[in-house]
């Protein structure tokens, strides 16, 4: 595959680097809120859901669930209020894509949310912003105010019978609150612990009412799909992963940043070498996380893999949030593994035992190995504890921690072996 994307113009990042584009006025000049107009006056609820289904849009928050299908699960005939929740928690380490969508195109997110609301007959929505994004929280609040002032939010939107209230909510520093049911708990003023499923949020979510939770990037695609049609959307990407995707590239690269490409149009190697400019000066790559810290690592010999949902799933890892983090030889493998586990141990919500007890235990063992005090027994323990966590957790956090650690141990067995003291033979 040669990289020939010269004619490709970014869709979601069309305004990247242009803070002046974030005003409502600038948005309207770019054709903004035309899709909402179409959704209000030319389409039925079913038309909207059908169009999003036909586009094949899949959730950009990590799981890749078909968006139109999710919307179709909402019981529209229910008399209970229905809610849209925009997931702007963006806590997956290495991810900073939603940040730039909001920073340069906040009205795109508001319009996408309004179209989702119109499709499922929702009159109220919440945007959940991570506390670390205080600056973007301010940008969103301002954009929402503008939208109210100009009649894009509130009663009789654009003169129709459609009404909608939108709230911007600031989280308080907890990665797990990106998990949709934990997020709902947090919105209800509780500790952010995931809920047991079923019921799924589409049926019983916020205040036990039907709720759609979608990622920022997912919703940012919606105005384009409604305005230009599902076929337009499908000109980008693959059959099963249509559309474009923003990749946040960081770690050991010369040109870190957000890069938008059609799904599957380039490989991990092309992204890291050609787009991001190769490893930091004088360093050598050893591996990369292809989809955030929760995605098992791939070593450079595995990098000729197209970046789309199905190719990465086949390689037993995942596209996740699209955060690519490149690791180099400037640090020991076990230090990377330790820092990864430290994150999960810190962010475990404590609701289920294997994750609550297992992740700090893994951290202790890895710290011991890092200090050069590990034994063969510790290596066996690492294996045993990860097996004890896999498949035994309530939410994917604990499982990811174990899966990613296993990928380190499988791909760099000698790096771990080297650290353990040779078995001392008892001398009498």
């Amino acid at each position: 595959m040669t990289l020939d994307l010269k004619d490709f113009q970014p869709v979601l990042l069309r305004n990247q680097g242009k803070p002046e584009a974030r005003s409502l006025q600038a948005y309207l000049e770019q054709g903004g809120y035309q899709a909402l107009r179409k959704a209000l006056f030319e389409m039925s609820e079913d038309d909207i859901i059908q169009e999003v289904m036909a586009s094949g849009l899949r959730g950009r928050g990590g799981a890749g669930f078909p968006t139109g299908l999710k919307w179709s699960f909402v019981p529209r005939e229910s008399v209970r209020p229905k809610y849209i929740v925009v997931n702007f928690d963006e806590g997956e380490p290495g991810t900073f894509k939603d940040r730039d969508i909001v920073r340069f195109d906040p009205h795109l997110v508001i319009e996408g949310t309004l179209i989702a609301a119109r499709a499922v007959l929702s009159e109220e929505s919440f945007i959940y912003v991570r506390a670390e994004y205080y600056a973007e929280y301010q940008i969103l609040k301002k954009a929402v105010e503008e939208a109210y002032a100009q009649g894009y939010l509130g009663k009789n939107i654009l003169g129709s019978h459609f009404r909608h209230e939108m709230h911007v909510f600031l989280g308080a520093g907890a990665y797990i609150c990106g998990e949709e049911t934990a997020l709902l708990e947090s919105l209800e003023g509780k500790q952010g612990q995931p809920r047991l499923r079923p019921p799924y949020p589409a049926v019983a979510g916020l205040y036990s009412c039907p709720t759609i939770v979608n990622n920022v990037e997912t919703l940012a695609n919606v105005p384009f799909i409604i305005q230009h049609g599902s076929q337009w959307f499908r000109q980008y990407g693959t059959e099963q992963s249509p559309g474009t995707k923003i990749f946040s590239v960081s770690g050991s690269v010369k040109r870190p940043g957000n890069y938008e490409f059609p799904m599957g149009s380039l490989t991990l190697r092309q992204l890291l070498e050609e787009v991001a400019g190769g490893p930091l000066e004088g360093r050598k790559w050893i591996a990369a996380f292809p989809g955030g810290l929760s995605a098992p690592i791939l070593t450079p010999d595995e990098w000729d893999i197209p970046l789309d949902f199905e190719s990465l799933a086949q390689a037993k890892t995942m596209l996740g949030s699209g955060a690519v983090i490149a690791l180099d030889d400037s640090m020991p493998v076990v230090t990377y593994a330790r820092r990864m586990i430290q994150f999960f141990a810190h962010e475990s919500c404590g609701k289920c035992t294997p994750c609550r007890e297992g992740t700090p235990w893994l951290l202790q063992i890895l710290q011991k190995l890092e200090r050069g005090e590990g034994t063969r027994h510790d290596l066996e323990l690492l294996q045993r504890v990860t097996h004890g966590i896999r498949g035994q957790t309530l939410c994917p956090l604990g499982d990811s921690a174990a899966a990613v650690l296993q990928s380190f141990m499988n791909k760099f067995p000698e790096a771990f072996e080297r650290l353990v003291q040779p078995t001392t033979v008892a001398t009498s």
Binding site: P19, E90, G91, E92, P93, G94, T95, F96, R99, R103, E124, R130, A131, E132, Y133, Y134, A135, E136, Q138, I139, H167, F169, L170, G171, A172, G173, A174, Y175, S186, L187, E188, G189, K190, Q191, G192, Y207, S248, V249, S250, G251, S252, P256, N258, L280, F289, L293, A323, I325, L327, D328, S330, M331, T335, Y336, R339, M340, F343, H346, E347, C349
Partner: protein, 164 residues
């Protein structure tokens, strides 16, 4: 502290959300922005205005990294040491703060000005290493940057309102 002003802000937050419980975390941010941490007086006000028990408030708040029950420095540094920032020297920043301020993470300098903590990814992998001072991000940080920030904070001319 101007309690009347804080009460008004909590009441405004309450009016912005459909349920008192949904306003809770936002109200606690108001307390944090007023005192720098969850001062008991602020918790009591939130409890009064929202009609939620203080015990419940403390229990919920204890879950979240941004809510602390003991004072922080007037300038609180959150140092991201997650993988990208670690590759770009974040642990040197931690060591530098320890030396320069003479305190461990979680402690406060005697003059009440500074504190710091190790933090997870703050979404700035494109300009590492990155930190937050209170709610303001600073990117591409070096030990020199830290010295400069500390000096300016001491002189009282550190502007923390800069947006991207």
């Amino acid at each position: 502290m101007d309690l009347k002003d804080l009460r008004q802000r909590i009441e405004r937050v309450k009016a912005m959300f459909p349920k008192a419980h949904t306003a809770l975390i936002q109200a606690l941010h108001e307390v944090r922005w007023t005192y720098g941490y969850l001062h008991p007086e602020g918790i009591r006000l939130v409890s009064e205005v929202l009609g939620i028990g203080e015990g419940e408030i403390r229990d919920v708040a204890s879950f979240y990294q941004y809510f602390k029950f003991t004072p922080l420095g007037k300038y609180h540094f959150r140092i991201c040491t997650n993988i990208t920032c670690m590759i770009h020297g974040a642990y040197d920043l931690m060591a530098h703060l320890k030396n320069r301020l003479g305190i461990e993470p979680g402690q406060v300098t005697e003059d009440g000005l500074f504190s710091y903590e190790e933090f997870e990814c703050i979404g700035c992998g494109d300009r590492p290493p990155a930190i937050l001072i209170n709610d303001t991000r600073v990117e591409g940080v070096t030990t020199d940057t830290l010295d400069d920030l500390i000096e300016r904070a001491k002189k009282g001319d550190l502007d923390l309102s800069t947006n991207p």
